[in-house]
Symmetry: C2
Subunit: 160 residues, 2 copies
DNA sequence: TTCCTTGCAAACGATTTGCATTGGA
DNA sequence: TCCAATGCAAATCGTTTGCAAGGAA
């Protein structure tokens, strides 16, 4: 269930680049908008009922990433997970479960986030590096893996 | 050139697990200790003069990672880069060049690092996630890609 | 001698690509 | 109509693994 606003923003962005916002691409965006963290091609494939061939899925992901609609996340393992870009989702960080590999999003309280941005610029400047973005990758154990017995995880994530 | 201390620590750790610290493994550690950031199998292969077969390299990386001597970094692209674990290198963060893909290490000034650790624990707790580690992945442009003409980069990194 | 390691080659699995077909502006 | 998008199948490429030979304790 993509919010009308996000859908409009994406449609506009794609239109500006002459890229079609097809039903297949809308479905991918829909799943990602509903997800609570980045999703891999395989996870999306499942979420979409395995009807869309993987190659098409990969192509959609590639096009949407190039258009700046999706942001790839190279988390744990050798798979790439995608999520809506920050200009759509808002700035956030990642919780990576060391056990199941699932990735969730977190936001930091605002005063800290601003301070962090400044800190990042200042700390990297001495090395001659110009910082443009940052994400905190937080490792640990997700609730689902901490309490395995308390019902199945509703997230559908964690392919591991 | 591995510092004697680090070499001793690794030797002790491996010995404790009944794992041999062979010359091949020492060479891998040597290159990583001299590097200024995580290195991929292909990069190490080059650094070692392409004499060690890739499969052996991968096996060394696997053994050393399982032993807790190396830490894998799933940065950009589909490749995995390795570096000495934090108990050997000290806690640090990563500068990832958006252009060439090279990864360098950075440390944050201490008062901030402590505050960040607390912040991370507090911010993740509400989601029921237990944080165990964190790394700031900072994206941007490295000096080499900012000033392409000023001599070749001495890092040897950046395979892209 | 007895395992652990190393090499080589084949196997794997995630992702990409060539090419013909389908579909939307 | 016409070019972008899609499907299928084959190709890539980083990484893993089976198996026999080499080495260190």
């Amino acid at each position: 269930m993509v919010s009308q606003q996000i859908d409009r923003q994406i449609a506009a962005r794609l239109a500006a680049s002459g890229i079609r916002y097809t039903s297949g691409r809308r479905r991918v965006v829909g799943v990602l908008a509903a997800a609570d963290g980045p999703r891999s091609a395989a996870e999306l494939h499942d979420d979409l009922g395995r009807k869309v061939p993987l190659s098409s899925l990969y192509r959609s992901l590639s096009v949407l990433t190039d258009a700046g609609v999706l942001a790839p996340h190279h988390g744990s393992g050798r798979i790439v997970r995608y999520e809506l870009a920050e200009w759509l989702m808002g700035h956030h960080h990642h919780l990576v479960c060391a056990d199941c590999g699932a990735v969730d999003d977190v936001e930091l309280p605002e005063p800290w986030e601003s301070a962090l941005a400044v800190l990042v610029s200042e700390a990297t400047a001495p090395q001659g590096f110009i910082a443009a973005s940052h994400t905190l990758e937080i490792g640990g154990l997700c609730p689902g893996c901490l309490n395995p017995e308390q019902g199945t995880r509703s997230k559908g994530a964690g392919i591991g």
